[in-house]
Assembly symmetry: C2
Homo-oligomer: 310 residues x 2
């Protein structure tokens, strides 16, 4: 039975790898967690390597890699894995630039491997039902509020404040990945205010306005300074009623009546879908959430705010 499983290596063995990828792979019959690549950390019960090259040289039987490194170093690793003929799963965001993602797509196609850019929030329980409900509605306005405590979720992760680290857009992109999945019409940024701590290269908060071709107002409030209860809410007001997603898309209410309240199964959903993509030999890469971030960073007004110390 074990021989029919896809052997997979996790590259970048940090918090998200340990908290989410390892248990999700363990819970998915199609995969076998076979190795880890990390400069600092060690995974128990599997082969550990310092570099991708060592992995490829010593374990040619491993056909898949999950890249969980920070986005700034992801392209070179993804390109190396694709060139080595490996199927590649990319943690979000799929890269630090939009252009590199297209280069990877072309490379994966050329090499005949599967490239899967994951957006874990799209596997939250309410996302597909919300998309189906909104399909034939007339949308009047949209509000998205994503407010978290950066100290709780990213302790000591200095890369998020460095160029390419995205700052508050690192969590906000989860909300944007849901929003872009559920809305029937594409949106674009019209105005953004970006709050940069005076000692950081990425914003700690952002207020972003979007609209669509019909002029629908879409307001986003992203903040990484929220202590206490955390907020991951999307409310879409339509002529036919209001749909509210909360807890990052795991709960859904229509006109105040709860329809869905599920525990988190996002990363399990990612690996189940990766198995399907491998089965059909299909890549899946949607850069649109990151494109909205790039647009906001290009178009936004920069405001300097209080310094941030972890």
């Amino acid at each position: 039975m074990n021989d029919t499983k896809h052997k997979i290596a996790i590259v970048g063995f940090g918090k998200i790898a340990r908290d989410q990828h390892v248990p999700s792979i363990a819970g998915e019959p199609a995969f076998d967690f076979a190795a880890a690549v990390s400069r600092n950390a060690t995974a128990e019960g599997v082969d550990n390597f310092d570099t991708l090259e060592a992995l490829f040289a010593n374990r040619p039987d491993i056909g898949c890699v999950a890249l969980c490194t920070p986005p700034q170093v992801r392209f070179d690793m993804a390109a190396a894995a694709i060139n080595a003929g490996k199927h590649v799963l990319l943690e979000k965001p799929p890269g630090s630039t939009l252009a590199e993602i297209d280069t990877l797509i072309a490379l994966a196609e050329k090499k005949g491997v599967v490239l899967f850019a994951t957006w874990h929030s799209r596997y939250a329980a309410a996302v597909e039902p919300a998309k189906a409900w909104l399909k034939d509605k007339t949308i009047e306005k949209v509000e998205i509020v994503w407010r978290e405590d950066v100290r709780r979720w990213h302790p000591g992760q200095a890369w998020i404040w460095e160029p390419g680290g995205l700052g508050v857009f690192d969590p906000a992109i989860n909300g944007l990945s849901i929003l872009t999945a559920i809305l029937p019409d594409p949106i674009h940024v019209t105005r953004a205010n970006l709050e940069f701590p005076e000692n950081c290269q990425t914003p700690i908060a952002a207020q972003v306005d979007f609209t669509d071709a019909r002029g629908t107002p879409v307001k986003a409030d992203f903040d990484w300074r929220q202590t206490g209860p955390q907020t991951w809410d999307i409310v879409v007001s339509t002529r036919e009623g209001e749909i509210a997603l909360s807890m990052g898309g795991s709960r859904m209410a229509i006109d105040g009546v709860e329809k869905i309240a599920e525990p988190d199964r996002e990363y399990a959903g990612i690996y189940a879908h990766f198995a399907e993509l491998l089965e059909s030999g299909t890549s899946l890469v949607d850069a649109s959430p990151l494109r909205h971030v790039a647009d906001a960073m290009m178009l936004g007004r920069r405001t300097i705010v209080e310094a941030f110390y972890d």
Copy 2:
């Protein structure tokens, strides 16, 4: 004979409209300059309107519009023109966000009109010859230097320093539009330093590193503070020799031997190509130069430099 010409209105009657669009339309037999839309300026010898709506209401015979307004207000006008069934020519950059460009493409397709996002520098004399020469070469490194005097080219244009105005990327995107046209492989930003004057929302200079899937080094030096002679150079070093484009792509030398030296015919080329697109009913929109700007703004390190006063 006049009846077979495409009647065209220029929207946004500023410096670029007067200096380039009016004479280029006059020189292109396929077009008839029929009206201008501007809040401040007046074009001689044609109907003038304050708004697009007034143009559409009073001159339904005009089937094409050239949008020469600043990018921050271009989307609403482009969408209105497309919805009114007009063919649309967009000055560069085609928008202030990448997402809005895709929305316009979809809208134009739905309405059956031609959308043409122009990059005037791609019509410089050396661009197509350089592209053809580079096609089968092994590229070793690329250098692009785009250094101009902002006071000479954009006197009093405050919008370039406002969010969405792009700053030095407004001229640099001309160089990027050439670079993306002539290089055989796609590139992506790996590092950027963005110099923001302390009183401005957009950079006055930027040093940007790119690479491709082969790891080729591509170095860009963009600066808007150059007085005296202006520099618009691209040098591509290949295993088979060196090709140098200068004067914004109007001159080309191979291994130091001049091959092309032509006067500026860029905007004439735009209108000749627009006539072809209208003939075949084909849209042409390549967002890749703007995508590199968005990537640089998302990934770049921000450095604060001396205040700029026009």
